[in-house]
Point group: C2
Chain length 467, copies 2
């Protein structure tokens, strides 16, 4: 009944319109119905500062909604400049080392936001061994080392929450883990990288080149100075591995994902795609088929009428198919200080509620909780896929016959051919669409075609996805 009493208090307690966190916390604490949970924040970069701001500014809201007050007890960052503007609240917030935060017995939750793999892994494992719950957004670490991390979490009976590791503010981890817990998931499509989606959207909208679009993205702070991880597709592969791990319940690491970037896409490909009724997206694809699991990240032609085609700019989206829920799409901001902080705050609050209600000596109701299955990843060469092919050829008689006879030799049928207006003797693009060929055959055919004397440039191969 004591519980019921404070729940009802929350349900009916009259609150001022926009109370400050301190007001509310003190007010409810005085009544003995507000519970406080302490966090330690490791890393005060863009995202870390976002989390600091979110907890500080919206703490009253969280308290009102959940009955739990989340307090930042300590922060740490190697770069002392990162502390600028942090309000230490007269000593209530301590500045210390990661190790000190982990050892602080008043801290329940460690929030790791330093990124990278090695140091972050050490910090997280060390926190877990001290029975601290952990919140992280570190996809590179999780997609490569999840077994160690979740193993340590389970051994020590604590949570590792990682909603912000995939899709920024999009609640895809919680949705896969909880909402779709009764669904056999067979397909996941994701636009998981805002930088590449911005670049491709810019190319589609303005007709500019990849390099020009990248430059604009860098100027706008959407692409990093070294954009390698994004434009190579690796960042998307990290995220896809995490989604497949949850969705399919299988042993999978980022290295299992076939990965191809977007640097070879030209403005003419964007134009051709639009003319044919498609858009080009860097799509992360996971399919659980009777022949094995497909895991791949590559530029992909998708029908312009599909919802995923409407995901433009730096936004992300994840499309999931299950045997019960049918088709689902989650859309939102994929990165950025505030959206990522929103996700991380949600993760923190979930654990804070658990700690406030059950203390730290109770088991957590889940961690990864996925059994290793017997599923295995199909080799890319074995997959049957549809293709867009752009050949660069010198326009002269017999060219199309030469290309099509090599395609035929490898059992690759042609669904449509188009060629722009020609000036005799000049290089012209020939675009061929195919509606299903074996990837291995396609690679061999293209290698052979690219050796032909009238083929002037490497053929551009973009896979297509039919929904």
């Amino acid at each position: 009944m004591a519980h019921g009493a404070w729940c009802m208090a929350l349900l009916t307690y009259p609150l001022p319109r926009a109370p400050c966190p301190m007001h509310l916390t003190k007010c409810l604490s005085a009544k003995g119905i507000m519970k406080k949970v302490n966090i330690g924040l490791i890393g005060l970069g863009t995202v870390g500062r976002g989390v600091y701001d979110a907890i500080t500014c919206n703490g009253d809201l969280i308290a009102r909604r959940t009955g739990v007050s989340v307090a930042i007890r300590g922060v740490c960052d190697e770069d002392k400049k990162a502390l600028k503007g942090i309000d230490l609240q007269g000593g209530a917030v301590k500045v210390c080392t990661a190790d000190e935060l982990i050892k602080d017995r008043h801290i329940d939750i460690i929030v790791e936001l330093i990124g990278g793999v090695d140091s972050a892994k050490e910090i997280i494992l060390s926190a877990l061994r001290k029975k601290k719950h952990v919140v992280t957004a570190n996809k590179a670490l999780l997609s490569g080392h999840w077994k160690e991390i979740f193993g340590a979490a389970s051994e020590n009976g604590v949570f590792v929450n990682f909603e912000a590791s995939v899709g920024g503010a999009i609640p895809v981890i919680r949705t896969l883990r909880e909402s779709f817990v009764a669904d056999r998931i067979d397909t996941i499509y994701g636009i998981l990288n805002g930088t590449t989606n911005f670049i491709l959207s810019m190319m589609a909208m303005t007709g500019c080149s990849f390099d020009e679009a990248l430059k604009i993205a860098q100027e706008k702070g959407i692409a990093e100075a070294d954009p390698g991880l994004d434009i190579s597709g690796k960042d998307s592969a990290h995220k896809l591995a995490i989604l497949a791990l949850l969705g399919f319940g299988m042993d999978v690491f980022c290295n299992d994902v076939y990965t191809e970037g977007i640097t070879h896409i030209g403005p003419q490909d964007m134009r051709n795609a639009a003319r044919l009724g498609y858009s080009i997206k860097l799509l992360a694809i996971a399919k659980d088929t009777p022949d094995g699991v497909q895991l791949r990240v590559h530029p992909t032609l998708i029908m312009a009428s599909h919802l995923l085609s409407g995901v433009r700019g730096a936004d992300n989206a994840i499309f999931v198919k299950g045997d019960l829920m049918g088709e689902s799409l989650l859309f939102g901001k994929g990165a950025g200080r505030k959206p990522t902080a929103s996700s991380i705050a949600g993760d923190i609050v979930e654990i804070a509620r658990h700690v406030a209600f059950f203390g730290n000596n109770n088991p957590v109701p889940y961690n990864l909780n996925y059994a290793s299955g017997e599923k295995s990843v199909s080799p890319m060469e074995e997959l049957f896929i549809s293709y867009y092919l752009r050949f660069s050829v010198i326009d002269k008689p017999g060219v199309l016959a030469g290309i099509s006879s090599i395609l035929a030799k490898y059992n690759i049928s042609i669904a449509s051919v188009s060629q722009e207006e020609r000036k005799a003797g000049e290089t012209v693009p020939v675009v061929i669409l195919n509606h299903s060929a074996k990837e291995g055959d396609m690679r061999k055919a293209i290698a052979e075609i690219d050796e032909l004397e009238y083929v002037t440039d490497k053929t551009v191969v973009i896979r297509m996805e039919e929904f």
Copy 2:
């Protein structure tokens, strides 16, 4: 450490590719690591049968993912025919009355799926008083009586889960309650009714009338024989009230929502909208503004390029804006046996995990947990909205002058005017767009215009929404 041990077992326990539920449950039960939670299913209509099938067919998956086995201990339905095909598993599943299920001390969770308000309310309140957790999809009941229901849940320290009450398989309740817990939500847009979205999509696609589209929807089983609740917008209003309750944390009931249906939309309005770059959707709108809260359901013109315009057929979508996460859209199946069952199964599993880990004598970490605020709903007449107006007039000199002078009298400016090709003396439609007028003024102006002798039919007024 015992906990850690079984968690690791789940993490690494080798399972056959598709084990039957019984195999897995027995196998893990024998090892003492599978916990069983019993449910009672009240109502075996379309959705109830879907839940029965979901738990029966995908129970192994749920067990593997969560370590909890959900068992249907009893079912009940007033219509004995509804029991056809239910496998009673040699007596393991009992057929009894709602009252017997509620009183069964082995049952932890009551799943109410009979619909309607009075009996359902009685059943739910009776279950809560017996300290049974409840899962329901009953939006009519919740949006009208949530205070009583959640009050009783809090008093008795049990959960009421209701994900399927809004947006079928779309995880919007969990997302608002948990993922966006740190966000100040200021805007919610929803396409919350599959029947009306199907009808409007059909009208847009084929050019047919409302009546024709409704007939097709009924033939396809998408609209009920009595479609009143759907086409009047009331079903959407029920759902919007629940979303506003969660998103804004305010006292709100379905009767607070201004509600208008879609029966007055003509094929010519769909054509006009398309020509102007818009689609027409039955949009549920909730906005928390400094001037008050807007809650309204009405046909709405939205830009064709917006993601919500791409939500076609019986699908649903919910668009949410928050101060941290920015803009988010959740899309999926809004109704149907399997999608609704997916959602309900997710709700059941959430509670089952809690029961399995913490027993029934522990507090629940949340229920509604929203304090009554001081927010109030703005009267519809006071809102400033954009409008599409279609006047039916006899084409003669002075008509446009007459209409526009009345609009001007009420401070309604004209953004654009279009009139189809005219045959002198015949009735012609005149379409006027306006980019912000006070609803009260607009109503007065239209009433006055509709009295003009050359106005041959009631003016069609459709509100517009700019994102």
